[in-house]
């Protein structure tokens, strides 16, 4: 079985907005990368002395309708304000930078039926939604798209989306329009049996799901992609104590799993997005409450704070002792 990760190299970097850079990646051995399914993402591993990172980024694919197959992968990275993975990319990535890439993973995908499609992108979430728009246009599916952003200048790929689908794209400039879009109205306007696909901040995803619920949509008619389940702006530095008594500091930009791995602890992990449960570890004691961000543990298990998903969850502050 080939290794999961391959060596890739940054081919080109292009600034899309003040805070968003587009980066194209090719394999280091010059062999072509395969086309990816709309909505797919890649795990990127990168870093150096001042931090190593694993992050998920959507594969955007070709931008125009007529564009040929591309033998490279395109991602777009929005810079956060803190010293995080995205900040690292913005500071260090340029043509020639080496990274490790996983195969394309596509849990977020268009349904195989022919029903109408509603796409909702919020901010950098456009990176998962744009390839879906392109796929719908190419395959002549009934599609409508809402693209929400702080203001038009800060939004990537607005022109590309409009060039692909014209009037089927609604751009919601929150500054100009003075607030969030009305998702109840939007969903109510859709043809029966529409499936909605949402990628963006948690508030947008939750808002869409709640609107769908109010309108009596079956839950499976809203599909969503969450990125960055492991990181929140309010994260604090915490300390992990192992069975042997070793204290391992975990910076706000890193997960407990990453810190334990860097310290050489024996950990198990697979998905790194709080779903597979392989990194679940027993908690011996914890100073504060744990912010559980995984989808594996049940609500009761989360309340008991006896186990933690190392890949994404963390105590709100202070120290946590683990059976590891």
């Amino acid at each position: 079985m080939p290794d999961k990760y391959k060596t890739a190299v940054v081919l080109e970097r292009r600034e899309l907005t003040d805070h968003i850079s587009e980066i194209t990646l090719g394999l280091a051995d010059d062999s072509p990368l395969p086309a990816s399914r709309a909505g797919a993402h890649v795990e990127l591993r990168f870093g150096g002395n001042d931090g190593r990172f694993l992050r998920h980024y959507s594969l955007i694919g070709p931008l125009g309708q007529a564009d040929d197959h591309e033998a490279f992968w395109r991602i777009a990275v929005q810079r956060e304000n803190r010293r995080r993975g995205s900040d690292y990319i913005h500071r260090h990535f340029s043509a020639g930078t080496n990274v490790l890439i996983s195969p394309a993973l596509s849990p977020f995908r268009l349904s195989s039926d022919d029903g109408p499609v509603l796409l909702i992108a919020g901010g950098i979430g456009i990176t998962a939604i744009l390839p879906m728009l392109r796929a719908c246009v190419m395959r002549r599916r009934d599609v409508h798209m809402l693209y929400v952003g702080r203001n038009r200048e800060a939004m990537a790929y607005v022109e590309e989306a409009e060039a692909l689908a014209g009037d089927a794209v609604t751009v919601h400039d929150a500054t100009a329009l003075g607030g969030r879009p009305n998702l109840d109205t939007l969903l109510a306007q859709q043809p029966t049996n529409t499936t909605a696909y949402v990628c963006g901040p948690p508030a947008l995803i939750d808002g869409t799901r709640q609107a769908a619920q109010r309108l009596g949509w079956a839950p499976e008619r809203v599909r969503h992609e969450i990125f960055n389940a492991a990181h929140k702006a309010e994260d604090h530095a915490v300390t992990v104590q192992t069975r042997s008594g070793t204290q391992i500091p975990v910076s706000p930009g890193h997960t407990l799993l990453e810190a334990l791995e860097a310290a050489g602890a024996e950990t198990f992990s697979d998905c790194r997005r709080g779903e597979c449960g392989l990194c679940i570890t027993s908690v011996s004691s914890v100073d504060t409450d744990i912010d559980h961000r995984d989808r594996f543990l049940t609500p009761d298990q989360k309340r008991s704070n006896r186990q933690i998903a190392l890949c994404c969850s963390r105590p709100r502050s202070g120290s946590i002792a683990l059976d590891i």
């Binding site: 079985m1 080939p2 290794d3 999961k4 060596t7 395969p34 591993r45 990168f46 870093g47 150096g48 002395n49 001042d50 190593r52 694993l54 260090h92 020639g96 930078t97 080496n98 490790l100 996983s102 195969p103 394309a104 990453e258 334990l260 791995e261 860097a262 602890a265 024996e266 950990t267 198990f268 992990s269 697979d270 998905c271 597979c276 449960g277 392989l278 679940i280 594996f296």
Partner: protein, 370 residues
């Protein structure tokens, strides 16, 4: 050489060099070099006799026979002169005689007689392997002979005990020993691959604990007040009852997996036991990275001389293990023949015991490469 305490300049090379360190440890698979420093079963004890037999073990053809005093001998099945398979020769006294030019080899591999030459050149010798009998099995060490401590041969006392009744069988399997180990320590496949024998729906919800002890991995499960699985319940004639059960499955070494199960009947019928014990012993030896020799034993502590019970357990075990054999061969075929790029394994929480064993196997295999 960069001094460890010296700050390394941050450039792409430094960034990339740092990456593999993040891996928390790798897992053995079918492509991992075979672990050689280990006692593996090479034969049933009664297969090795005065007529030489050969078997391919860890990619090496081995010939085995017994001396006049009954000591087992294992040699490379290849005459150092012209590669004639020594198994095609004959045993004379304690010596193995090559069937091509009559070179005679002592049990220690040294040539004692070379008919066409008046003296025996010192370099005329054949590789031998440490070999030892234990109970019904004969074990071989294909690694560094200086490390072949017989105390490391796994203790399987129930196989030789008169207090246990044992049935046994064997298979040659076109699959790798790593996936065999993972299959044996993974019990979440039971209800799907073995619905008629060892898998019951209730068992899927039994609590499980996994732990590593040195280079072993053990999982223990307990399930109370549920019907027994057919393979245990039918021979004990307790299928109509709800019983408690405990089980331990153990990755004991790269060569052996053992399982120990107990069934507790809290209200036994008159004259019947309240506890039924089983040891299941799986011994397997890689023939190559993609095939194994497999010997299994099902031991019980009741009705130990009953031939009907023997027949039932032999048939049910053979069926259950055949289901595993088929599955592993299908998987091996997919893994080796599917050329679709970028395949990798997904793992979930219940796969942890298997991954623990595979991590140990990877560590052992890498340690032998220095």
């Amino acid at each position: 050489m960069t001094h460890a305490s010296q700050a390394i300049p941050l450039n792409d090379e430094a960034i990339f060099d740092a990456m593999p360190m993040e891996e928390g440890g790798q897992f053995a698979n079918h492509a991992t070099p075979l672990i050689r420093n280990c006692w593996y079963v090479c034969a049933r004890r009664d297969e090795v006799g005065r007529t030489p037999i050969s078997r391919r073990l860890l990619d090496t053809d081995v010939v085995m026979y017994r001396t006049q005093s009954g000591q087992p001998v294992a040699m490379h099945n290849r005459c150092p002169h012209r590669a004639f398979p020594l198994v095609k020769g004959r045993v004379e006294g304690d010596r193995l005689v090559c069937g091509y030019h009559g070179m005679e080899f002592e049990p220690d591999g040294l040539c004692a007689h070379l008919p066409a030459v008046s003296h025996v050149p010192a370099n005329a010798c054949v590789q031998t392997y440490p070999i030892a009998d234990r109970g019904p099995l004969t074990w071989i060490w294909m690694g560094d002979p200086n490390l072949a401590d017989e105390a490391l041969i796994p203790e399987l006392p129930w196989l030789a005990s008169s207090e246990w009744g044992t049935v046994t069988g064997d298979f040659h399997i076109k699959a790798d020993y790593v996936s065999m180990h993972e299959n044996l320590i993974d019990q979440t496949h039971f209800p799907f691959l073995h619905p008629g024998t060892v898998g019951t729906p209730e068992y899927a919800r039994a609590s499980m604990e996994a732990s590593t002890e040195g280079n072993q991995v053990a999982i223990t499960r307990r399930l109370d007040n549920a019907p027994p699985p057919g393979i245990y319940g039918k021979p004990a004639d307790i299928m109509h009852k709800n019983v408690d059960r405990t089980s331990e499955a153990r990755f004991a070494s790269p060569a052996v997996h053992t399982a120990h199960a107990k069934i507790f009947d809290t209200q036994p019928d008159p004259g019947k036991p309240s506890v039924y014990g089983y040891y299941i012993t799986h011994c397997f030896t890689p023939e190559s990275n993609h095939s194994i020799h497999y010997w299994w034993f099902n031991s019980r502590d009741y009705r130990i001389d009953d031939t009907d019970t023997d027949d039932f357990l032999r048939d049910a075990s053979t069926q259950a293990y055949y289901e595993d054999v088929e599955a592993l061969e299908w998987i091996m075929d997919v893994v080796l023949s599917d050329k679709e790029a970028q395949q990798f394994e997904l793992s979930f929480a219940p796969d942890k015991p298997g991954l623990m064993a595979r991590r140990i196997m990877h560590r052992l295999a890498m340690a032998e490469r220095g």
